[in-house]
């Protein structure tokens, strides 16, 4: 079993802090329609942690692990704004935080015909919110139709 001297622990902590500071702007989560750099707030507000960040061909994805087990993904366009968020897990995330100023539009949308408790399908102006699932397993996403970078397959936003 390895034994660390206190000095080594301090160095490790220091290096971690430097690393986090360097990556900070890149690993932050964000709110729909807001700049990526404004963020950190989602992670803090949701008491979450960044699980992974990766660059795709035409956007960047941040994976935020929520404490209850749900995964929140935030999709950042080359221009630096979040154009989509998606979630998957045992409970829904705080969508007021994830959708930001678009949350009210989602809540005030008229209930569609034949609505049931297993589906969500909202289109309010530029905002599209979709979801499905049931107790113990929820998934969904919200995106700004005009902000989706060209060439992005909507099927990949999950």
């Amino acid at each position: 079993m390895p034994i660390f001297r206190s000095g080594e622990i301090k160095i490790t902590i220091l290096l971690s802090a430097v690393l986090i500071a360097a990556l900070g702007p890149r690993i932050a989560g964000a709110t729909l329609g807001e700049p990526e750099i404004t963020v950190q707030s989602d992670v803090a507000q949701l008491r979450a942690s960044i699980k992974n960040s990766s660059d795709r061909a035409s956007y960047r994805v941040h994976e935020i692990q929520l404490p209850g087990g749900t995964l929140l993904r935030e999709f950042v366009a080359p221009g630096g704004n979040v154009f989509a968020v998606a979630w998957n897990g045992p409970t829904k995330p705080n969508l007021r935080q994830a959708l930001g100023k678009y949350f009210d539009a989602m809540v005030s949308a008229p209930k569609p015909k034949f609505a049931d408790r297993r589906h969500l399908q909202i289109q309010q102006g530029d905002l599209v919110v979709e979801g499905s699932g049931h107790m113990r397993a929820f998934s969904g996403r919200a995106y700004l139709a005009s902000a989706v970078p060209s060439g992005v397959d909507l099927g990949d936003l999950h």
């Binding site: 998606a86 015909k113 408790r117 297993r118 589906h119 499905s132 049931h134 107790m135």
Partner: protein, 405 residues
């Protein structure tokens, strides 16, 4: 008369005790009394327009709730939705006429729940009730009272999950009876907070809390005195074009009485979320489910035209009715192949029969981001007897959690 408990011969004991029982009935004849009747474990269910007058493919039943310990402060509530995709009995406060006591945590705070559904949330206290359905009873059962004026202020952590559904019209039912294949609506709320249960020091001071399992809102079947290992939904077949209403039975227990025998049912074990693997159109959909609480058959197929009418654009409107194939596989490896289902033109079906509430071929889109799901709703139950066994219970054909048909 000699004492029944005295040192007499065995034959005399038998005759003596038989006479004592018979005397209770005032008779004294030689015919032995019939055994006590089994608990009535069958309640009728119906698919109709519901209290919102807008429901389709939505199954309802009636439930009686009493103030715990009371036989007079009781109320029978109709149009409680029967839902195998959720857990727990939830009642809409506006239709409730009896005052059910709110559960109190060991801290002295009231326990209030934020029940999550895909399309919104329902906020209200967890209260205790003696619940009776058919002849089955669950004493002091935690149930949720949705839209209760005693807790009118929804905390931001709950309202942030979506749209409030706390009235009969927004909820589409007078309540919901969640009888899925688990006991609880949360896997680990006793140790982890999920924004589902809140401790309220006052009506406006509520914080996310863990809560002991015994205080959470459970599948009521698991708390029945008898027939508590699961349930069966038995619905007749319906014409392809649909019907105004459809009536059937909800039977409690599996292999506990002569009327709920498994027989040759095929068992499909579900995963920890209640899900199965379905294969459709060459795709393996690992997050699929069979669900009496879904009002359509929902799946993604970009080759089928969707409706163009406003409000119906997520439903399918093919030129001709389609017959499509589906396979379903349980976690136990059992595969049911060669199932078929119909996809009708939603607009045509509605135009032809605007008063119908039963549409076995109503199908809709799942968003492209949910490509791993096939959601087979109440239409799956038409013309079948479908058993839902609760986790940890073993029947003659398998161990729950499972769905069998």
């Amino acid at each position: 008369m000699a004492s029944c408990f005295g040192p007499v011969r065995a034959a005399l004991i038998a005759a003596c005790c038989l006479a004592a029982v018979a005397c209770g009935g005032g008779g004294g004849g030689s015919t032995p009394p019939p055994p006590p009747p089994p608990t009535n474990n069958v309640v009728s269910v119906i698919v109709d327009e519901g209290p919102s007058n807008q429901s389709v493919n939505t199954l309802f039943t009636s439930v009686t709730v009493c103030v715990p310990g009371s036989t007079s402060s009781c109320q029978t509530i109709d149009h409680i939705q029967v839902d195998t995709g959720s857990y727990g009995l939830r009642l809409l406060a506006p239709v409730l006429t009896v005052a059910l006591p709110v559960e109190t945590l060991s801290s002295g705070n009231s326990l209030v729940q934020c029940a999550q559904f895909v399309d919104g949330f329902s906020w209200g206290p967890v209260a205790l009730a003696d619940v009776q359905i058919a002849g089955e009873t669950a004493k002091s059962l935690p149930v949720q009272v949705i839209g209760d004026s005693r807790f009118a202020t929804v905390p931001a952590a709950c309202s942030g999950t979506g749209t409030a559904e706390d009235t009969v019209s927004s909820f589409g039912a007078n309540g919901i009876l969640g009888i899925g294949p688990f006991e609880l609506d949360c896997g680990d709320c006793d140790t982890t907070t999920h924004g589902l249960y809140f401790a309220c020091a006052t009506a406006t001071t509520c914080t996310d809390t863990t809560v002991p399992n015994a205080m959470q809102v459970p599948n009521p079947v698991t708390h029945f005195a008898a027939d508590n290992n699961g349930s069966m939904i038995d619905l007749p077949a319906v014409a392809a074009g649909g019907a105004v209403t459809l009536s059937g039975s909800l039977i409690f227990g599996i292999d506990t009485q002569s009327n709920n025998q498994s027989g040759t049912q095929t068992v499909l074990t579900v995963d920890g979320s209640g899900e199965l693997v379905m294969t459709f159109n060459g795709q393996t959909l690992a997050n699929s489910f069979i669900d009496s609480g879904s009002n359509g058959i929902y799946f993604a197929d970009s080759n089928i035209a969707t409706c163009t009418t406003t409000g119906l654009t997520s439903f399918y409107c093919p030129g001709n009715t389609l017959t499509l194939g589906l396979s379903i596989q349980g976690q136990n490896g059992v595969m049911v192949n060669n199932l078929t289902f119909g996809v009708g033109n939603t607009q045509t079906m509605l135009n032809a029969n605007p008063t119908f509430n039963v549409f076995p071929q109503l199908a809709g889109q799942l968003p492209a981001g949910n490509a791993g799901t096939f959601d087979y709703g109440l239409a799956f139950f038409y013309g079948k007897r479908v058993a839902v066994a609760v986790e940890g219970n073993t029947t003659s054909v398998g161990t729950g959690p499972y769905i069998a048909f």
